[in-house]
Structures are given as structure tokens and as C-alpha cells.
């Protein structure tokens, strides 16, 4: 089986997509992560759901996790307010962690076999990879879909 056989339609988000809209997309479509594309429309990075949570939390909570406990229940419920007015670009890992060369992107070619797809996912800690053919996304493969195809019946 090849990557193109598994690729399915999947929404992508842009750097200027509001963070709130992108997060809603995760919930409504029960996606494992967001495919963020750059200005050329090529997938730049996958933001797993847990990463989106990280950016909803204030940085000081990450530095001192004990602080999360002192919020009142209602204030804690409202933690996603932090996403308001921010864009996907602001949720991205800092520049040094972004892919510098094409090989570091969460991308496979249409002819990649399942092991190649798995290797990219595992290496990039990414629950999703995009299948790109001649500069165009033809679909994505989620970890569920890959495992579903690869696990012995």
C-alpha cells in the first residue's frame, strides 16, 4: 500500500487563522491535530491538540505547574479565553523548533510506503502527516488511519 491510497481529505489552517477558529475545528471534526500550511500552501508543521492546549495556558503556569491549582473553579473553566484575539502563528513553536529543511516537514510523497509514513510520524511526534505531490497537498494520513491499515486483521 502507498501513502496516496490512504490519504484522505482534511482541513488545513493558515498562519493567520484565528486560534479560536482553529481550536473549534479540532473539536467539531475530532481531529488529532491541525495541519498548518505556510504561505506557499505547503504543510509547515502539525499542531497536535496537546500543543494547542499549551498555548491556551499562560507561560507562567508551564514554569510553575502548582499555580494552576490556585484558580477558582469558574476562573479555571475559562482558561481558553487566552486564545481570544490570537492567531495560529502565535501558537506555533518558537522559530528554532520549526522545520528548516523540507525533510523536517511532516510530509510524505504519494509513493511512500506505510513504514515511511510511520517513520515520519514517529520521528516528528506528529499524529498526522500530509501527502504532498508536486507541491500540492493531495490529502493527509492520521495515525488512526495508518494503524488501521497496518495492524494485522
Amino acid at each position: 500500500m502507498r501513502a496516496r491510497d490512504l490519504a484522505e481529505q482534511f482541513p488545513v489552517v493558515h498562519l493567520d487563522t484565528p486560534a479560536m477558529d482553529a481550536s473549534r475545528l479540532l473539536v467539531e471534526r475530532t481531529l488529532p491535530g491541525l495541519v498548518v500550511v505556510d504561505h506557499d500552501g505547503l504543510p509547515l508543521v502539525i499542531l497536535p491538540g496537546s500543543q494547542v492546549l499549551r498555548f491556551a495556558l499562560p507561560e507562567y503556569i508551564e514554569e510553575d505547574r502548582t499555580l494552576a491549582a490556585v484558580y477558582s473553579e469558574s476562573d479555571a473553566d475559562a482558561f481558553c479565553q487566552e486564545l481570544r484575539g490570537r492567531t495560529v502563528e502565535e501558537l506555533m513553536p518558537s522559530r528554532q523548533f520549526l522545520p528548516k529543511k523540507p525533510a523536517d516537514r511532516p510530509i510524505v510523497g504519494p509513493d511512500a510506503n506505510l513504514m515511511e509514513v510511520a517513520a515520519v510520524m514517529a520521528e516528528q511526534h506528529s499524529p498526522v502527516v500530509a501527502v504532498v505531490d508536486a507541491g500540492e497537498i493531495i490529502g493527509v494520513i492520521t495515525v488512526h488511519r495508518l494503524l488501521g491499515a497496518a495492524l494485522p486483521q
Binding site: 499562560p58 507561560e59 507562567y60 503556569i61 514554569e63 510553575d64 502548582t66 499555580l67 491549582a69 490556585v70 484558580y71 477558582s72 469558574s74 476562573d75
Partner: protein, 454 residues
């Protein structure tokens, strides 16, 4: 090379006598290495650990020091008292940090202040200053900065002023005790001064300076004090007790910390060095806290400890080849018996230099010099007080610029990560004012206490 080293060391051994026979080439090379390493440390062209170790290595290569002088000599080698005192306190801090006691205190204070910004700033600065007197400054600000950001977020004010004020408070508070600031640890070991000597001679001044600082802060950070009555609820609904995740650990840590403080106060009577007290306390805390080695070693800054070692070897090499001895003689001649003038120079000179270079290498290099001066004074109280001039100048001078003390650099890093970048000049604007005021206060203090009635 070995032969050269042996000759120089033989010369070094007599360097304390009347004759100065170390080879001129070695002396010149040693000074060049020292200055070079200093430039690298000050400009950060090379990481400070690499600069100190590289300098130490070159000192060995030119024969200015050797294993015997570097590792086993009190005058020319690594000051293990300093290293192990720091190590012990870092282990204690690693455990205390896990108790959440700082988060508890800070939120308790914010609630007591009913969300009023200046009252919160004053209380947070007081907590920081007291904690800095008992623990390492860097750790204290690391513990208090995140909860400060939280509180500022809740009351709807920008946190930059709060964070800057806390660093300034930390450097002032750390001046009060032997263990409060690394320069004091070095001075205590070199001068053989006790914990109580620091408490008696520096703490009273620090209390006054801190109160003055709090009044000054009302004006300095006035733009940070916008009061939002509607935000008070967000502060009052926080539950500080939930910051204490393990009450048993907290109780045990506080008991051990208390014992360590008692040990410090009694260390002269007990005939135990502060480093031993700290290590015993650390050991006891490790046993009673049942934490894993990764946890109790978390706050141990190995690079800092290695930096100290390299620094001591470099400065020791200068002592070894007789440079420090010659400078000391020159200083003794220049000072004569006018110790007040020397104290004045030391106070203001140290404050100015500590603002520009890290005060740790500065004090490590100055301590042997001041030691010569104090010894030449033969126990005169005015001579002994030179140590306090050095400590006050170096500790308070650390506030002057954004790079004056390690705590300053650390807080600027936290602020930037949280989206509130503080520039060098932004910090320095406030730091210079506070340094000028506190050092100008220290001058009459030194005069009245040690010289006016002498």
C-alpha cells in the same frame, strides 16, 4: 614546561616574603590570561564557564599554578568552603521549591492586599528580600516570578515593574547575610567572618535600605499601580492553600530550614563551618523528604559551581606568582592608615564595577587584596570594616544594570518568555537609581558605625 613551573612555584612560595622573584614573563602572561578571561566573562563572547576553565588551564600551562596549589591550598586554590556551601544550599532549595510555599505566600499576600497594586508589590518584595537573605537570590526570583506574573495578570496590571522591583529587593535582601549573596560567601571564607558577623554588621543597614527602597518604589514604579476594583474578585477567589500539595513535605522542609538557620547562627560556637552546616542540613532534608536524586539535585547549578572553581584557580595563580601580593602592598602603601578613604573607594568602586561585570568574579579577585589591607591594619576596627565596604559595594552594585547580578539576567529571561520583554536600559533605568540611593546610604552608615568615633 615542568621545570619552568617548578621554578615559578618555588618563587611563588617566597612571594609573600620581602623578595619577589617570580619570572617576569610568567607574571606578564598570568596577568594577560586573567585580563583576557575577564574580558570574555564580561562581554559574554565565550560562555563564562569556558572562560574561567580556559583561563585556569592556561595558568597551569604557563606554570603559574599546579595541582597542589589549585586543589589543596587555602590561599591559591579552589575555596571548597564556598563550593560546598553553595552546593548544600542548592540542594536545600531544590526540596523547598517543591513545597509550593512561595506560591502560597505570594497569593496570601495578594489577598491580604485586597488587590491593591502597590501593597502587593511591597509585600512581594518583602517576601523576596527575606527569602533572598536565607536562600540564593537566583532561586528566590525563579520561585517568585511565575506567581508574580499570575497575580499581575489577575489584577490587570503589567508585570514588568513588579519583576524589576523583586530583583532589586532580592539583591538588597541578599546583602544581609553570609549566605544571601555569593560575594558574601566568598568574603566570609576569605576573611574568616562568621554568620553572625554578617548579621550584626550588614543586616541592620539592609533593613533601613530596604524600607527606603519600598518608599522609592512607590514613585519609581508608579505607572504599574493602576487599581482595578472590578478585578479584585479574581484575586480573592484564588485558593492559596491548594498551592501546598504535600503538607508533610512542607513541615519537614521548614523544620530543617529552621535547624540550618540555627546552625548558621551557632556555627562559631559549634566549631562547624557554614559549609558543613549547609551540607548536614541538605543531607538531613534529603533523608526526611524522601525525594529522588533527580529532585533534590534539580536546582544544583553545576555550571555555576564549575565557574567558581575555574575562577578560584585563576585568581589563585595570580596570588601564586605574586601579582596580588604586589598590588596588595601598593594598596597598603596608598591607604596608609586612612581606612575611611579606603572604605569609601572600595564601596563606590565596587558598586560601579559590579554593575558592569558579574560581582562574583569581581569579589573573588578583590578578596585577597582586601585581605592584605585588613591584615596590614592589624586588627584595627577601621581595617576590618573594609570587608563590609566591599560586601555592600559589590552586593548593592549588582542592582545597577541588567547584567549586574545573575538574578537580574534570570528575571529578564522569564519576563521575555512570558511576552513582557524588558530591555537592558529599561531595567538599568530603575537599577541605577536604586543602586545610587542604597550605596549613598551605605556610605554614612560605614562612616558613623566604624570611623566617626574611632
Amino acid at each position: 614546561m615542568r621545570a619552568l613551573g617548578a621554578t615559578v612555584l618555588a618563587a611563588g612560595e617566597t612571594a609573600n616574603g620581602d623578595e619577589q622573584t617570580a619570572g617576569t614573563a610568567v607574571v606578564v602572561l598570568a596577568v594577560a590570561i586573567f585580563v583576557g578571561a575577564y574580558v570574555f566573562i564580561a562581554t559574554e563572547w565565550v560562555h563564562r564557564v569556558a572562560a574561567a576553565l580556559g583561563g585556569a588551564a592556561f595558568m597551569v600551562v604557563i606554570g603559574a599554578t599546579d595541582a597542589e596549589a589549585a586543589f589543596f591550598s587555602e590561599e591559591t586554590g579552589v575555596d571548597w568552603q564556598v563550593i560546598f556551601l553553595l552546593l548544600g544550599m542548592m540542594i536545600i532549595v531544590s526540596v523547598v521549591k517543591q513545597t509550593g510555599v512561595f506560591d502560597y505566600l505570594a497569593i496570601w499576600a495578594a489577598k491580604k492586599a485586597r488587590g491593591r497594586p502597590y501593597a502587593i508589590l511591597a509585600m512581594l518584595c518583602t517576601i523576596t528580600a527575606v527569602a533572598s537573605a536565607l536562600l540564593d537570590n537566583v532561586t528566590t526570583v525563579l520561585l517568585v516570578a511565575p506567581v508574580t506574573l499570575l497575580v499581575c495578570d489577575r489584577i490587570g496590571v503589567r508585570p514588568e515593574g513588579f519583576l524589576i522591583a523583586e530583583v532589586l529587593a532580592s539583591n538588597i535582601g541578599g546583602t544581609a547575610t553570609l549566605i544571601g549573596d555569593p560575594p558574601n560567601i566568598i568574603i566570609a571564607s576569605r576573611a574568616d567572618l562568621s554568620f553572625n558577623d554578617f548579621l550584626i554588621n550588614l543586616a541592620p543597614f539592609v533593613v533601613v535600605a530596604f524600607v527606603v527602597f519600598l518608599v522609592l518604589a512607590r514613585w519609581l514604579f508608579r505607572r504599574s499601580f493602576t487599581y482595578h476594583p472590578e478585578r479584585v474578585r479574581a484575586v480573592m477567589t484564588m485558593d492559596e492553600r491548594r498551592a501546598i500539595r504535600d503538607p508533610v513535605l512542607l513541615r519537614r522542609s521548614m523544620v530543617v530550614l529552621g535547624l540550618v538557620m540555627v546552625g548558621f547562627v551557632l556555627h562559631s560556637a559549634l566549631h562547624l563551618e557554614p559549609s558543613i552546616i549547609a551540607l548536614l542540613g541538605a543531607g538531613l532534608l534529603v533523608v526526611v523528604s524522601r525525594t529522588s536524586s533527580a529532585e533534590y539535585l534539580e536546582e544544583v547549578e553545576w555550571p555555576t559551581l564549575v565557574f567558581f572553581m575555574g575562577l578560584f584557580i585563576m585568581v589563585g595563580a595570580l596570588v601564586n606568582v605574586g601579582v596580588i601580593g604586589a598590588l596588595g602592598e601598593a594598596a597598603v602603601d596608598a591607604v596608609g592608615d586612612n581606612y575611611f578613604r579606603a572604605a569609601t573607594g572600595l564601596l563606590f568602586g565596587s558598586a560601579a564595577l559590579s554593575g558592569i561585570v558579574d560581582n562574583i568574579p569581581y569579589v573573588a579577585s578583590m578578596a585577597p587584596l582586601v585581605s592584605d589591607l585588613v591584615e596590614a591594619g592589624g586588627g584595627a576596627p577601621g581595617a576590618e570594616a573594609l570587608w563590609w565596604a566591599l560586601a555592600l559595594g559589590a552586593d548593592l552594585g549588582g542592582n545597577a544594570t541588567a547584567i549586574g547580578a545573575s538574578a537580574n539576567v534570570v528575571v529578564l529571561g522569564i519576563a521575555a518568555r512570558n511576552g513582557y520583554p524588558i530591555s537592558f536600559w529599561h531595567f538599568t533605568r530603575y537599577g541605577l537609581v536604586v543602586t545610587a540611593v542604597t550605596v549613598l546610604l551605605a556610605w554614612p552608615y560605614l562612616f558613623l558605625r566604624y570611623y566617626a568615633f574611632g
